[in-house]
């Protein structure tokens, strides 16, 4: 920071009266109400689940079943994250589900039909994700095609490639060149990382919470006091949750896939919040022109987002193949809308307008749980669409309604 070494010297006394422009209390209150307002949707979902718990009891509050929902939706959530990352960059990527469908085929087909070693299969699948991302990014950023139509077109091509590859039929692995056992096991809810790993994660999450709470503690408290207070608060809350919700029985329910999802989401959160790339991406999405003028290579950033989206979608496809054990045409096609719904939910679950990683994951899971509660509760099948849609709308509108009412 050479510039600031000699600040004192270069600064003219006249320009540095350091009189703050009036920025009174309102902005503080604004920020606070914003934090509250932006978690309202989250609270609304919790309220729904509380309602379910009263209504359905253990049939809904069944840790195993709920974690199974999470496990089963890992591919959808990965696709949602893929959609989210391009949305952060201000673009649509409608090809994510087609990419997943393609790599699902390749993950099994390249082994059983072409006989590639399995590591090569995985590399090939991720390479496909990269290639798809590069093509999409090229179309959108270098040929300036509207992302919606560009990825609609490229999605069609990708799906077409999968149907050419498969001949339009399903692919059922058989014969001597089977996929490795661990790959099959990966898809199973029963294959789980050691409990220690899960507890370690929980510990890290608590630590993060302690840190985050720093923003809430009155600023006049000194460091030690604040830290102590926060630690006690988090520990108490954790104990309550552990005992109240019977967490030890849950903790065994975190499958490898769930674990993988958490790892991926954490990595993406770090990427978006704690790296220069993430910052550049947000800037490019929010105001590409300004970002470019600020010296950010917006094209490369957006291209990077498409590539990352492609890789995540490819990963989702591979995992889908693992959970299914076989592949049918457009296996992931039905995931497109739920994935986008989760991504858009993230703009209200934890934030007021921005797409977030954890909002996507949690929003996606919550929607699944709402639906599950209805099915468990025995709502006639014909009604589920209505109630699901209505719950989504209510949860989302709550935050804005309250915001409007507060004005």
């Amino acid at each position: 920071m050479t510039l600031f070494a000699d600040d004192a010297a270069t600064e003219p006394p006249s320009t540095a009266p350091s009189v703050p422009l009036a920025r009174p209390a309102p902005s503080r209150t604004l920020a606070q109400s914003r934090a509250f307002g932006s978690s309202l949707t989250f609270l609304a979902f919790l309220a729904i689940f509380a309602g379910y718990s009263v209504w359905l009891g253990d049939r809904f509050l069944d840790p195993g079943a709920r974690l199974l929902n999470l496990h089963q939706n890992v591919p959808v959530l990965l696709i949602a994250l893929a959609a989210m990352i391009t949305l952060v960059a201000g673009k649509f990527d409608l090809s994510v589900s087609s990419t997943a469908s393609l790599t699902a085929y390749l993950a099994i087909g390249l082994r059983t039909e072409q006989g590639l070693p399995f590591w090569a299969v995985l590399v090939a699948c991720l390479a496909v994700g990269v290639a798809v991302g590069l093509v999409n990014g090229f179309l959108v950023e270098y040929l300036s095609i509207n992302a919606f139509i560009a990825t609609l077109g490229s999605g069609g091509v990708i799906l077409g490639i999968s149907s050419v590859y498969s001949g339009g039929g399903p692919l059922i692995p058989s014969g001597p060149r089977a996929v490795p056992g661990w790959f099959d096991a990966l898809g199973s809810f029963a294959s789980r990382p050691p409990a220690a790993v899960v507890w370690a994660i929980a510990a890290v999450a608590c630590a993060a919470l302690v840190r985050l709470l720093g923003a809430v503690v009155p600023s006049r408290w000194d460091r030690t006091r604040s830290l102590a207070a926060r630690t006690v608060a988090v520990a108490a809350a954790a104990a309550l949750v552990v005992v109240g919700l019977d967490v030890p029985s849950w903790s065994g329910g975190v499958s490898w896939l769930t674990f993988l999802l958490l790892v991926v989401a954490t990595a993406m959160w770090v990427l978006l919040e704690l790296t220069a790339f993430g910052r550049g991406l947000k800037a490019s999405g929010a105001n590409p022109e300004a970002a470019r003028l600020a010296g950010i290579h917006t094209r490369r950033h957006v291209l990077g987002a498409f590539v990352l989206g492609g890789v995540l979608a490819a990963l989702a496809g591979v995992i889908l193949a693992a959970t299914q054990g076989s592949v049918a045409p457009d296996l992931a096609g039905a995931f497109l809308l739920p994935a986008f719904a989760a991504a858009f939910l993230s703009t209200v679950v934890f934030s007021a307008g921005a797409f977030t990683v954890w909002g996507t994951v949690i929003g996606g899971v919550f929607v699944v749980w709402v639906g599950q509660g209805l099915i468990v509760g025995g709502l006639p099948n014909t009604w589920t669409d209505i109630v699901n849609g209505a719950v989504l709308l209510i949860a989302v509108s709550l935050s804005t309604v309250v915001r409007i009412a507060r004005r």
């Binding site: 199974l68 001949g167 898809g187």
Partner: protein, 357 residues
């Protein structure tokens, strides 16, 4: 996959012997007469057993298809009649990912059995393996799961799809007097369709004066206007074709519609599933409709439930992979009252069996 392009005209493949015209027509008459009998014989289990109690998850291929929704309810009724608990019915949404997910939920809920309706278990292999591994009985009504899956323990309850294709084939041969040119729609992703097509083509291969073309219509495209593949096929072939086969009745309506709108009267559409709308048109004597194949859906659903109960109770199973079906044509349609089922109170037969040891 079984799909060849829509342009590939097949002749006699794999050494199928062609019959002489006389032989062909007499065989056709014989086969059609047998297939159009409205009172086929149903296999009936004899041994009774104590059903006890348990839980069965019912998963339909996709509840948006009326047949699936209806049969899911039939299954539910049967399970309840046996005094068992039902999970579901679940909507498989025609997505293997969703269907497999519900099987995993059944495992998680420690169900004793999984009842599938028209689901291709091969596309959800891993979930089915997990269920079988957890000692859960998996029975599938209206499925051709294949030898591999059956060997693993999947219980199919179904008419012989290949036979249904053959029946339709013989009907077409007879109708055209051995000079049919057939457009066969296929969906290579559906094993049932592939089996029916196999049977159909096997028969047509024996007919020297017949030829056929396959038109691949992926299920996803089957609801688009036309469907586009069919519209394009018609404009590419302004004449020459005598027959078309829709791979299920959901296609029959749009296909006949497109035929009418392009002013074509030279093609007759035959199909499977005995959809009420199609049957009512056929009963009115629509010239555009050839034959339709009816399957004993209700009976299959009840039989599937019976199989699960039997497996749980350790009772001997019976052969359910060759349920009868009926070929419906303009001639016998008047005498047919859906659904296709055994005579008498057969529901009672089952419930009695389930409570006698």
């Amino acid at each position: 996959g079984a799909g060849s392009g829509s342009g590939a005209t097949s002749g006699a493949t794999s050494g199928a012997t062609r019959l002489s015209q006389d032989k062909l027509m007499s065989t056709a008459a014989e086969k059609v007469a047998a297939a159009t009998s409205l009172t086929p014989t149903f296999p009936v289990p004899k041994a009774g057993f104590e059903a006890g109690t348990g839980t069965i998850a019912v998963i339909a291929g996709g509840l948006s298809a009326p047949v699936h929704a209806e049969q899911a309810e039939v299954m539910k009724k049967a399970v309840t009649a046996a005094g068992w608990t039902v999970l579901g019915p679940y909507d498989g949404k025609f997505s293997p990912a969703v269907q497999g997910g519900y099987i995993d939920q059944a495992i998680q809920a420690r169900a004793n059995g999984v009842l599938l309706f028209a689901v291709d278990v091969n596309t959800i292999r891993a979930a089915v393996d997990r269920a079988l591994g957890a000692k859960i009985v998996v029975a599938c009504a209206m499925c051709t799961s294949g030898d591999q899956a059956r060997a693993k323990g999947v219980l199919d309850v179904t008419p012989d799809f290949e036979r249904q294709g053959e029946d339709l084939g013989w009907f077409i041969v007879q109708r055209s007097k051995g000079a049919a040119k057939v457009a066969i729609t296929v969906e290579p992703a559906a094993t049932g369709v592939v089996a029916r097509t196999r049977g159909l083509e096997k028969v047509l291969d024996q007919c020297a004066g017949c030829s056929y073309n396959e038109i691949v219509i992926p299920a996803a495209d089957s609801t688009l206007p036309g469907p586009p593949q069919w519209t394009a096929f018609l404009s590419a072939h302004p004449s020459g074709y005598t027959d078309a086969v829709a791979y299920y009745d959901g296609l029959t309506t749009p296909m006949t519609k497109t035929l009418r709108e392009s002013g074509r009267t030279d093609v007759t559409v035959s199909s499977y599933d005995a959809d009420p709308a199609v049957l009512s048109l056929m009963a009115k004597g629509s010239a555009q409709l050839g034959a339709d194949v009816a399957s004993p859906l209700d009976f299959a659903s009840w039989s599937a439930v019976d199989l699960v109960l039997r497996s749980k109770a350790g009772a001997a199973r019976w052969d359910t992979t060759n349920l009868p079906s009926v070929l419906l044509t303009g001639k016998n349609i008047a005498g047919f009252t859906p659904p296709l089922q055994p005579a008498g109170d057969w529901h009672k037969t089952f419930t009695t069996l389930w409570t006698s040891s």
